[in-house]
Symmetry: C2
Subunit: 197 residues, 2 copies
């Protein structure tokens, strides 16, 4: 009985989480190399309802993340692997996503100036090199996070959290967590899949 | 000449940063023990204009943070040490701060429901225990960061970044980075001090 109650509440939790998933918010990790950063980003993804992370590794090999603090969040996020910017961005564009890449440079606009409730892919770059020139020029927009301090940078996992939770704030304002964004068919298929995890 | 130009631009940078500092936004770290978390939090503090961090260590010893990635940000933030919640919160209350503590519990309200442009102290707790009961009950409000995923937590440095950048977003909307929040006297004293760093 105890066991039954526990698994019942797990099913309810899974259904509630799926009902809040945001298929219209995607993350692209371009050569991000530190597994702990990826782990923290995946936790933020799960927290705001991102269900799909594009692993775009053109230089670094995709790191093993199963051993980090991400292992909890990893289960609830789907991964797509890409070896070229073109393949990744073409797929996103064909699905109607705006692609926004985080980069500090004059052409970039403030995070808060973008409508992140639209189908949006947020691209985060390598810890040392940042976003590649190819990704920056193929993106639909460049984002910077306004900073007013002496030290003009934050860790990539912090930048991702700030961006993703701003997207979440905007989406919550529009009621996008109150109505399922997935079709009833997809909700049912995913629920069957998640219950087995 | 080269040298002169460089130090001139440094002075301009210092003056610009000080003109954006937010004396009305303070961070309290209650027994946060991981130096890397503290380092990341200090970078977020510097980035949004926090100039004062209260180190409230009632159980853990304040960790040494000089060796972490914080070393850049540390220089630009002032530290006050406290050994009791009462001493720390009394000082903040006497200066007119609302004290908001991050804690996931039924009485907490969403981060986005608070006016963070008011004089505000944000309290972040220990990585394992969270905020102490004493701090939670003495705070003026409890904050939670809305999360919609299967994993209901983020790292304390990520929670701090989300909260601090939301405060920054609200303050930017009110033009609080466009007009110096420090008196001309304090700006001058701090500029003299910072130029020597």
């Amino acid at each position: 009985m105890e066991q039954w109650t526990k698994s019942e509440s797990r099913i309810v939790r899974i259904e509630q989480t799926l009902a809040r998933r945001q298929p219209g918010l995607v993350v692209v990790l371009e050569n991000v190399h530190d597994p702990h950063n990826i782990g923290a980003i995946l936790r933020s993804c799960d927290a705001v309802g991102v269900m799909r992370v594009m692993m775009l590794y053109t230089i670094e090999e995709p790191p093993k993340i199963g051993v980090t603090s991400a292992s909890g969040a990893m289960k609830w996020v789907e991964f797509n692997r890409f070896r070229s910017v073109a393949a990744c961005f073409d797929e996103l564009h064909s699905e109607g996503f705006q692609i926004l890449a985080t980069k500090i440079e004059p052409k970039a606009a403030s995070l808060y100036s973008y409508d992140l409730a639209k189908p949006t892919a947020l691209v985060f770059g390598n810890e040392h090199r940042g976003i590649s020139d190819e990704a920056a020029s193929a993106a639909d927009g460049l984002i910077y996070i306004p900073m007013m301090g002496m030290v003009e940078s934050v860790n990539v996992s912090v930048a991702a959290a700030i961006s993703l939770f701003e997207a979440s704030r905007q989406r919550a304002t529009k009621g996008m967590y109150d109505v399922p964004q997935l079709s009833p068919e997809r909700l049912r298929l995913l629920a069957d899949d998640w219950i087995k995890k």
